[in-house]
Amino acid sequence: MTLKDTQPGMVVRIDSVGESELKQRLMTMGLLPGTRVEVLNSAPLGDPIAIRLRSYNLAMRRDDAAHIEVSQVKEA
């Protein structure tokens, strides 16, 4: 599954960050394999999403989140 398919309340661990124009920016912001990510909330139509990682909050679009493979650690 990818970060795109997550719901608020879920906790996941990143497996890999796929190729995209944003890849290096995502990695710079701390999205790396092994990083624990908590899905917090989403804008009115469910996109973009807000996530918590490394003790800070980050907003991203679901389309960009689709490049990030994750495994679920905790259900919503």
Partner: protein
């Protein structure tokens, strides 16, 4: 002793600007970095007899030159060797903040690490062992509570006493640098090298964190609880509308506008008569009296009286920005903005565009991509800025006295829809190749530092003052000259003036729109100099003196104008066409100048002028001819 040079660097949202403002107060100069549209802030401090010059580098997450800000920081360190570099770190967000720290150290820059907002970090269950952090880097670590004067003094003590050459990177850091050099020489593809290095940096961060930082996740933070309303689902939209409604109430009804009315009254009722009297008794020539009273005081006064309103609006916006709420507005608006080909962050400059296009165009520099910046700059002029409000207010009162509010609302709507449609058109044509992105940190909610809010508002608003002092001044003189002179010299017959000539030439273009009188032609021309001039030109040309655009007087003004030949010059349908045209056509010269400055291109400035005129011409044509087909007059 020589001046000590200090550079502040760090991520966005670390309270770096607040520390800079505490350090330098009002003794700061804000300029531009050469070649880019990033603010350059420099300030001077004197402490214990030493002169210290402090530079506030733009906030960045890294120095990879992926954005203008990163380019500026990266170039700065290549070209300058400040005595002391302070890396401001948000203690609550230390894990990600250390990324920049490590990258700076890889570049051989000796640092002082300053942990800011330690109190907030502790509330979030994050404990940092300062001694262990010093050992991990081999560099001094200090800490501050952003707003306290005491902790800022402590920083000054550190600046004046630190001898950076006494510090050497720790074994941990030199090991990491060796690892980075190995990756660089591994022969991998450039992008792979970059990614390996990023991973290596976070490896090191994880090591340092495990050693020097303990994190006890204390459940949901206050920020997360607030965000479940302010940035989640339908409630977020409702709260946002209320927040902006309140902001406009404060600016336009409660504080800004009343102050503006006072100031406007002072110009009209006190200054103008006093100046007239003084000139009369001094025996000043008639033409000079006319220039000062009818030209300069009226023209400059009209713009200066907007100043309280503009500053109130900017103080509100800076305050909201300082709380962290503006990031949520971008978040909530992103789905809508994306459909127009923009990013959520683009909402900020557009909202400002309802006040004045100049700061809105400047605000576009905060956007991530070239595409977002360009589209934002090019569609801002369609929005209903302060200066266009008098036009619709007056025409609505004259020709649709029973439906004023609806007509005003409809004109705002015309501007918004045109901006959205043109954003979509530009993003699918001219800027098709480029992608819009949205990756935004949502900083914790904080009570903003008042000094920082006021300094920011002043910095943004003073452009308006400069506009009043320069362009509006020159323009008032010009309009006065054009309407008072013709080739035979000074004239009292305005329809014989240069302005009438220019107006009738221009007006020929508007025959299909039904407003081809020389007066409307002249108003359209002066409106390019400043939109405020459309109504005042009409007033002067149709001979209705003392036109007022204040709410309570607008009906009187409308009545006064209707009694003149203007009532017969427009059919209601032509009035609508005229409103639509003036809503949409060319940005004013100040805005055009700002576009030139921000895009660094005469070509884009010319484009902005011609394409907005074309859109306005077509839209008003559709309204007039379409209206006629539907049987309106």
């Amino acid at each position: 002793m020589a001046t000590l040079s200090v550079a502040l660097t760090g991520n966005p949202n670390t309270g770096k600007s607040t520390i800079f403002n505490e350090l330098t107060g009002a003794r700061q100069k804000i300029g531009n970095w050469p070649g880019v549209t990033v603010d350059k802030k420099v300030g001077l401090v004197e402490y214990n007899g030493r002169k210290i010059s402090v530079i506030d580098l733009p906030g960045t997450y890294s120095i990879n030159a992926r954005s203008q800000e990163e380019q500026v920081v990266s170039d700065y360190f290549k070209q300058n060797k400040p005595d002391i570099v302070v890396n401001i770190i948000d203690a609550a967000n230390i894990a990600r903040n250390l990324f920049l720290t490590i990258q700076l150290m890889e570049n051989g820059i000796p640092l002082i690490l300053n942990l800011n907002m330690m109190d907030e970090a502790e509330r979030h269950g994050i404990k940092i062992d300062v001694k262990k952090l010093e050992d991990a880097f081999g560099m001094p670590v200090t800490n501050t509570v952003g707003r306290s004067n005491k902790s800022v003094r402590k920083l000054l003590d550190v600046f004046t006493n630190a001898v950076m050459t006494n510090y050497k990177p720790s074994a941990l850091i030199t090991e990491h640098i060796d690892r980075v050099r190995n990756i660089e020489h591994s022969g991998l593809a450039a992008s792979q090298i970059e990614e390996e290095i990023i991973s290596a940096r976070y490896d090191l961060i994880d090591k340092i964190m495990a050693n020097a930082v303990t994190v006890n996740a204390a459940g949901k933070t206050l920020t997360e609880k607030l965000d479940s309303y302010l940035a989640n689902g339908v409630s977020s939209l409702v709260i946002m509308v209320v927040a902006f409604y309140l902001m406009f109430q404060i600016a336009f009804n409660w504080i800004g506008q009343p102050l503006a009315d006072e100031l406007g009254g002072f110009f009209e009722e006190t200054l103008a008569p006093a100046a007239a009297e003084a000139m009369e008794s001094a025996g000043v020539a008639d033409w000079m009296q006319s220039l000062v009273s009818d030209g300069i005081i009226t023209g400059v006064g009209a713009v200066l009286s907007f100043v309280p309103l503009i500053f109130t609006l900017f103080i509100c916006l800076s305050f909201l920005d300082g709380t962290g709420y503006m990031a949520r507005v971008a978040f909530v608006m992103d789905p809508i903005m994306r459909r127009a080909g923009l990013s959520g962050k683009g909402i900020m400059p557009l909202i400002m565009g309802f006040g004045c296009g100049v700061p809105a165009i400047m605000g576009a520099r905060a956007l991530d991509t070239h595409k977002d910046r360009m589209i934002s700059i090019l569609v801002t002029p369609f929005l209903t800025c302060n200066a266009k409000v008098p036009i619709i207010a007056l025409f609505a009162a004259m020709f649709f006295p029973d439906n004023i509010a609806n007509v005003v609302f409809a004109m705002y709507f015309v501007g918004i829809v045109t901006a959205i449609v043109m954003a979509k058109v530009l993003s699918t044509t001219t800027f098709k190749e480029q992608q819009s992105t949205f990756l935004l940190e949502l900083p914790p909610y904080r009570l903003p530092d008042i000094k920082t809010v006021l300094l920011e508002a002043w910095d943004k608003g003073k452009g308006y003052l400069i506009k009043a002092g320069t362009i509006i001044f020159a323009m008032s003189v010009l309009i006065w000259f054009l309407s008072s002179f013709n080739s035979d010299g000074m004239t009292d017959e305005m329809d014989q003036s240069y302005l009438a000539g220019i107006g009738s030439t221009t007006a020929a273009v508007f025959a299909p729109q039904g407003f081809d009188t020389w007066e409307s032609g002249a108003a359209v021309v002066t409106g390019v100099l400043a939109k405020e001039a459309v109504v005042s030109t009409m007033g002067i040309l149709y001979g209705a003196d003392e036109l007022s655009t204040e709410d309570e007087d607008i009906e009187n003004s409308a009545q006064a104008l209707l009694a003149t030949t203007m009532g017969g010059a427009f059919t209601p349908l032509a009035a609508v066409a005229f409103m639509v045209f003036t809503q949409l056509y060319s940005p004013c010269v100040t805005a055009l100048g700002t576009i030139k400055k921000e895009t660094q291109s005469w070509k884009w400035m010319a484009f902005a002028f011609f394409y907005t005129c074309a859109v306005a011409w077509v839209a008003s044509l559709v309204v007039y001819q379409g209206g006629k087909l539907l049987g309106f007059e």
